[in-house]
């Protein structure tokens, strides 16, 4: 009881100090408000940018890609057959066609599907072709895909601007073509396109859809067909693919999955981090910039509070002395001024949160029509709000602590005697 009442009187004095110079208090609070709101805005904006970038990147990039492309054939039977020291001369050596594909697709997919982190996976048969329409002939690639899984992983159906993605399931000679490629070939929905493979096989496809991703390179050169048709076109069986694409629930866990399955999969497994190091670097750099700027603002706010608290304490030095003479201890004085700092910090953090969200949602309305965006991107994360609160309160308490400690050490005799 006694303890409680004593704390109340400290709090009462603190609140009177805060309200008697309300202008000063507001300035101190505004400092924190500004720092916290900037922290939230900067980070939410950077997160929005990162997320937009990632959404764009992951619209055609899987978290893990399994392929056989890195297999090199170093084996030289002549060197192996003769003992060393034998002189031989091979001219114009020809390698056997090395395999660049996955022969046991179903088995590999079964292994990955068993991993708890794996969300979706699909196999693709990709190869280069010539697209022909009359006298037009354009070099491009074909993706033989499992339409359902492809859609689950990359949301392909949403990107189809004419026709229907799902028709790939039923029309074995149907083809969904990139928009720019279609324009260049001069084909429209339901027109025919001739496809010529590198092995000289030619087949007519019916355009059942036109797709527009935000990646120009893809829209310019790619078309999608059913994976079964693709395997047929190459004369391969159902277990054949050129790559397996895997998406995880948490895309940061790629290394764990790769480490665990590498031995049984035996093919080249490439994580998105390895494939797109610039993506990782860019988002990390943006995060560093956002944190640095907002922490600098908080630091300035901290100095502001330090200054104001110091001024208050110098103004009230006689009152502090008299409080001590009346029996308030150094700890009480410390509590009084730390309470003020904490009150400033809490109000600043609270109004900062509101202001931060307001600024962010206002910025989120600004039109920005580039690369699939319609407005400037904002993405809120709980961690940013938590960090803003912690930094805001920490800065004020720290900025208040040093003046408060000075006040608590005031020797009343020196002040009262003048």
């Amino acid at each position: 009881m006694a303890q409680k009442r004593k704390n109340n009187v400290n709090r009462q004095i603190a609140s009177v100090h805060l309200t008697s110079k309300i202008g000063q208090t507001v300035v101190a609070i505004l400092g924190v408000t500004f720092g916290v709101s900037m922290y939230i805005f900067m980070n939410s904006f950077m997160n929005g940018v990162n997320k937009a970038q990632d959404d764009l990147a992951f619209s055609n990039l899987s978290h893990i890609r399994i392929d056989n492309e890195n297999e090199k054939n170093d084996y030289n039977p002549v060197e192996a057959a003769f003992s060393s020291g034998t002189v031989f001369n091979i001219r114009n050596k020809k390698d056997i066609q090395s395999e660049t594909d996955i022969k046991n697709t179903q088995q590999v997919m079964a292994i990955l599907r068993a991993q708890p982190e794996v969300k979706d996976l699909t196999s693709q048969v990709n190869f280069s072709v010539f697209y022909r329409n009359g006298s037009k002939k354009i070099n491009g690639t074909i993706s033989g895909v499992d339409p359902n899984n492809e859609n689950l992983m990359f949301g392909s159906a949403d990107k189809v601007v004419a026709g229907k993605w799902d028709d790939l399931n039923y029309q074995k000679s149907g083809l969904v073509i990139g928009k720019i490629l279609a324009d260049n070939l001069g084909v429209k929905l339901n027109d025919n396109v001739n496809v010529l493979t590198s092995d000289g096989i030619s087949k007519n496809f019916n355009v059942i859809g036109i797709i527009e991703t935000s990646v120009k390179e893809i829209d310019k050169s790619r078309a999608y067909i059913n994976i079964g048709t693709a395997q047929q076109l190459l004369g391969k069986n159902f277990n054949y693919s050129t790559g397996i694409l895997v998406n995880l629930y948490d895309r940061d866990k790629t290394t764990a999955v790769v480490d665990r399955t590498q031995n049984s999969v035996k093919y080249n497994m490439e994580t998105w981090q390895e494939a797109n190091q610039q993506l990782v670097a860019a988002s990390q750099l943006r995060n560093i910039i956002a944190s640095a700027v907002s922490l600098a603002i908080l630091l300035v706010a901290g100095f502001g509070i330090y200054n104001i608290m110091n001024m208050t304490i110098n103004e009230k030095i006689r009152e502090i002395a008299i409080l001590k003479a009346m029996g308030f201890s150094g700890g009480d004085v410390l509590t009084i001024f730390l309470t003020q700092a904490t009150a400033i910090g809490l109000s600043g953090v609270f109004s900062g949160l509101i202001l931060g969200i307001s600024i962010s949602s206002a910025v989120n309305q600004v039109p920005f029509k580039v690369a699939g965006l319609t407005t400037l991107p904002i993405h809120y994360q709980w961690a940013d709000f938590a960090a803003a609160m912690i930094f805001g309160i920490l800065t004020t308490i720290l900025a208040g602590y040093f003046p408060a400690r000075k006040a608590s050490k005031i020797d009343p005799v020196i002040i009262i005697r003048g």
Partner: protein, 231 residues
């Protein structure tokens, strides 16, 4: 007139020695010893530099940098730490200074209530009741809710006295409590002190250079060059 236990010593000072070290070492108190009885109204006089104020601040427990010993109501205070002393001050010592030193943002009533709230032995209502009683005793009832900085000098000094009384301290110490008051207000304050000592048995020790004031007290201790020259 004196009522309570006139034989008990409220305060005992034994051989107090005090040095100032700034700017050069200088002995302010050269071995001061005396006792103050309970309910006594005592004045400390002496020329400026005689050490009377220095002595008072040692008695007040705020200055702990001295040699010798100090005990109040039988409690040995020499050697206790600042926190223990501030708790002791809160409960047992009331202060009145030359400049009133009220908290300007608080009302007269709140100023009076502060030490009791700090002590925390009574409920808010009891404290408020007691504060009103103190203010009534000093004829300040009507000023209770006014801001401290809205009162006249004499009123402020009386509020400071009411504040010193709130915890019913056994000793009230004053450093030139009338030094900043005109003669009329000065008389009022002196009457209050005498009343407190003789009717409520509170011990009062005042530093003053006002000889009229000193003559009206029960006992006068005169300091010269750090020693008691007359008492």
């Amino acid at each position: 007139m004196t009522t309570v236990n006139n034989n008990t010593n409220a305060l005992e000072v034994k051989n107090v020695v005090k040095y100032f070290h700034d700017p050069s070492t200088f002995q302010v108190l050269k071995g001061v010893s005396f006792d103050v009885k309970k309910g006594e109204f005592l004045s400390l006089v002496g020329k400026s530099g005689s050490g009377k104020s220095t002595l008072l601040y040692i008695l007040s427990t705020m200055d702990t940098d001295y040699e010798g010993s100090l005990s109040i109501n039988g409690n040995m205070l020499t050697g206790q730490n600042q926190n223990q002393l501030s708790i002791f001050r809160n409960e047992h010592i009331g202060f009145v200074f030359q400049f009133h030193y009220l908290l300007p943002e608080f009302s007269a009533l709140e100023n009076v209530m502060l030490p009791a709230k700090k002590l925390g032995k009574l409920t808010f209502d009891e404290i408020e009741h007691k504060a009103y009683e103190s203010l009534r005793l000093l004829d300040l009832e009507e000023q209770a809710l006014k801001g401290a900085n809205k009162l006249s000098g004499g009123q402020q000094q009386r509020v400071a006295i009411a504040r010193a009384l709130i915890n019913s301290p056994s000793i009230i110490m004053g450093d030139e409590p009338t030094g900043n008051l005109d003669s009329k207000n000065s008389m009022v304050v002196q009457d209050i002190f005498r009343n407190l000592a003789h009717e409520f048995g509170q011990t009062i020790i005042c530093v003053t250079h006002d000889n009229d004031f000193a003559q009206r007290t029960d006992r006068t201790i005169e300091m010269t060059d750090g020693l008691i020259s007359n008492h």
